[in-house]
């Protein structure tokens, strides 16, 4: 506060409120480790063609089910496709689905949650719908949606997003309910600020920190769900190399060629672990209220 009154005279840069928290977050070991893993995976996904890979869908009937750490770094599958190349290219789909589902559910959940938290009339109805959606097991809803609307990257992403939306709505709504009683919101109302502006300028920024935390968790669970959908045969079309698809094809050969499941499994687990650690680190620094609870 003292800094604010002096800032005109003394040439000290006054950091915006909230800046400190980001600096703090960037020093958290969880954020650093998780961020490192995620960045590494993103680089692998982007530069997949440069990482000594061959065409991930190239069939080679002569080189079926070759062991790893031979001529083929991570072995080959039942069609003679190179597991290493497939796993590297598979990172693309996982990251796209994870990030896509997180962004999509946050955008929709933020909108619905802001409206629901502010208007009592809408709230009762919206929350009943969210309770109902939450009662349906997420994976079942997702596989039903995919099987009904046809498997593609977009339908899988949407199907994974829908079960995640209620959690975001609840989170945003709980923030809105507490913020709408704050004096600065009352002040904004009393000087006649239009309602959309109040929601966007004064209420919405308060949801960002918890939403970023929630977003990382959604990203982690979306990547797992994508793999599960592909694994069950209700996911992204099998000709696209995704970690789930590679593992699904390895099911039959598991006893003789366990590496087909093992390597994509390791990549998937490491990526999800990285995102989860990142989320825990962000939660501890950005959202101390939540950190105390869980």
């Amino acid at each position: 506060m003292a800094a604010n009154t002096q800032s005109a005279a003394v040439p000290v840069t006054v950091s915006k409120p909230g800046r400190a928290i980001w600096v703090q977050a960037s020093r958290n070991p969880g954020v650093l480790i998780g961020g490192f893993v995620l960045t590494l995976m993103a680089l692998i996904a982007i530069f997949a063609p440069l990482l000594g890979t061959v065409d991930p869908v190239n069939l080679d009937p002569v080189a079926r089910l070759k062991k790893p750490f031979t001529e083929w770094f991570l072995g080959t599958d039942a069609f003679g496709r190179d597991i290493y190349s497939r796993v590297i290219y598979g990172a693309r789909i996982s990251l796209i689905v994870g990030a896509g589902a997180a962004i999509l559910s946050i955008v929709i959940g933020l909108f619905v949650g802001l409206i629901s938290g502010y208007f009592r009339m809408v709230d009762a109805i919206v929350m009943r719908i969210m309770d109902g959606l939450m009662a349906i097991p997420g994976i079942l809803l997702a596989i039903a949606l995919v099987s009904l609307s046809g498997a593609s990257l977009v339908t899988v992403m949407v199907a994974i997003t829908i079960p995640e939306i209620p959690r975001v709505v609840r989170l945003v709504r709980s923030v809105v309910l507490s913020i709408r009683e704050e004096p600065y919101v009352e002040a904004a109302i009393s000087i006649g600020t239009p309602l959309p502006l109040i929601l966007i300028r004064h209420v919405m920024p308060n949801t960002f920190a918890p939403l970023i935390v929630q977003g990382t968790y959604i990203c982690a669970s979306a990547m797992l769900t994508e793999a599960i959908l592909s694994f069950l045969g209700a996911g992204i079309p099998p000709e696209i190399p995704t970690w789930g698809n590679i593992m699904a094809e390895g099911r039959v050969y598991f006893q003789i060629a366990p590496w087909i499941i093992l390597f994509p499994g390791i990549f998937l687990s490491l990526t999800v672990l990285g995102v989860n650690i990142l989320g825990d680190g962000l939660r501890d620094t950005l959202d101390p209220r939540l950190a105390k609870r869980v």
Partner: protein, 313 residues
């Protein structure tokens, strides 16, 4: 008290109503004619008309909905398109493996997770606490089916201690039945243990700061008594709550675990129905799972007064 119970039971009706609407709309709002999807590519127009009439698709949508609900309330979940067996019969046939797996998993997970969480909170900040927290975050990160295959590879294929896959009904003897549930339980319970241990640790940690814990220690109670009677008992409500919320996680896990271990349960039924596009079965199973989730959480809400007498309604 009675007023609360009846209000809480009534509150489940809108939730189940929304579930029913969502499941009903799943089939109606997806692009394409349901009759054409059901009949397959080679159907003639006459066959399509016949299917539409049989499913009531020629009626207005609200009539379709209410007649569906009416049949549901009478326990009629419809008839499988593929096998022509009533869906309720199919579910009853597949109930045992799923129920067995769910029950062993819940028991095992609670027995492991609660002590883990209590010890982690008690030895807060030590190596044990760290180890528990690392186990928890790993448990959330390793996909259920990868874990399942690792167990099969290590225990069944390499060590040959347990059968690889499959299921034996409890009627065929307890040991063959139980033997085939060990690995599925170990697989499914990991994520559940992670969830419960984390909440147990957090809530016990909070309780250990309370004045009455200091009082209990000051009057010379043993640590065991302080932890179990004073701390754990007061931390019971959030733990029980998470066991209930975790049922959703468990149901999702059941679907995957049954596929990995070839258990002929409800999860396997769902996956087969999805692959065969057997819509009445998909709807029926999802409805039953959602119903179980709602009922379990209702019972847990009602049990709060038992675990925490301070809660009065």
């Amino acid at each position: 008290m009675f007023a609360f119970i009846s209000r809480r039971i009534l509150a489940t009706i809108p939730v189940m109503g929304v579930v029913a609407i969502v499941i009903f709309l799943l089939l109606r709002l997806t692009p394409g004619d349901p009759a054409a999807i059901i009949a397959g590519d080679s159907a003639t127009e006459a066959q399509l008309m016949e299917i539409r009439a049989r499913l009531g698709l020629d009626q207005p949508i609200y009539i379709q909905f209410f007649s569906w609900i009416w049949r549901l309330l009478q326990g009629d979940l419809g008839i499988s398109i593929i096998s022509n067996i009533p869906v309720s019969t199919m579910i009853a046939q597949r109930l045992e493996p799923t129920l067995a797996l769910a029950v062993t998993t819940i028991i095992f997970a609670v027995l492991v997770a609660v002590p883990l969480g209590v010890i982690a909170a008690w030895r807060h900040g030590t190596l044990i606490d760290r180890a528990v927290m690392i186990f928890c975050v790993m448990g959330f990160s390793v996909p259920v089916f990868v874990l399942g295959y690792l167990w099969i590879y290590g225990i069944s294929i390499n060590l040959r201690w347990l059968p690889v896959q499959g299921y034996k009904a409890i009627g065929d003897g307890f040991w063959p039945f139980f033997q085939r549930l060990i690995l599925p339980t170990l697989t499914l319970s990991v994520i559940y243990i992670a969830l419960i241990a984390r909440i147990t640790r957090a809530s016990v940690l909070e309780i250990l700061d309370e004045d009455y814990i200091r009082t209990a220690r000051a009057k010379g109670l043993t640590e065991g008594r302080v932890l179990l009677v004073h701390a754990l008992r007061n931390a019971a409500v959030p733990i029980i709550t998470i066991v209930g919320i975790g049922i959703a996680l468990l149901i999702s896990g059941v679907v995957v675990t049954e596929s990995v271990f070839n258990l002929p349960g409800l999860g396997r039924l769902t996956v087969d129905a999805v692959l065969a596009r057997d819509y009445p079965v998909i709807q029926g199973v999802i409805l039953v799972f959602a119903f179980v989730y709602v009922i379990v959480n209702l019972l847990i809400d009602l049990s709060y007064t038992f675990f925490d007498p301070r809660i009065r309604y």
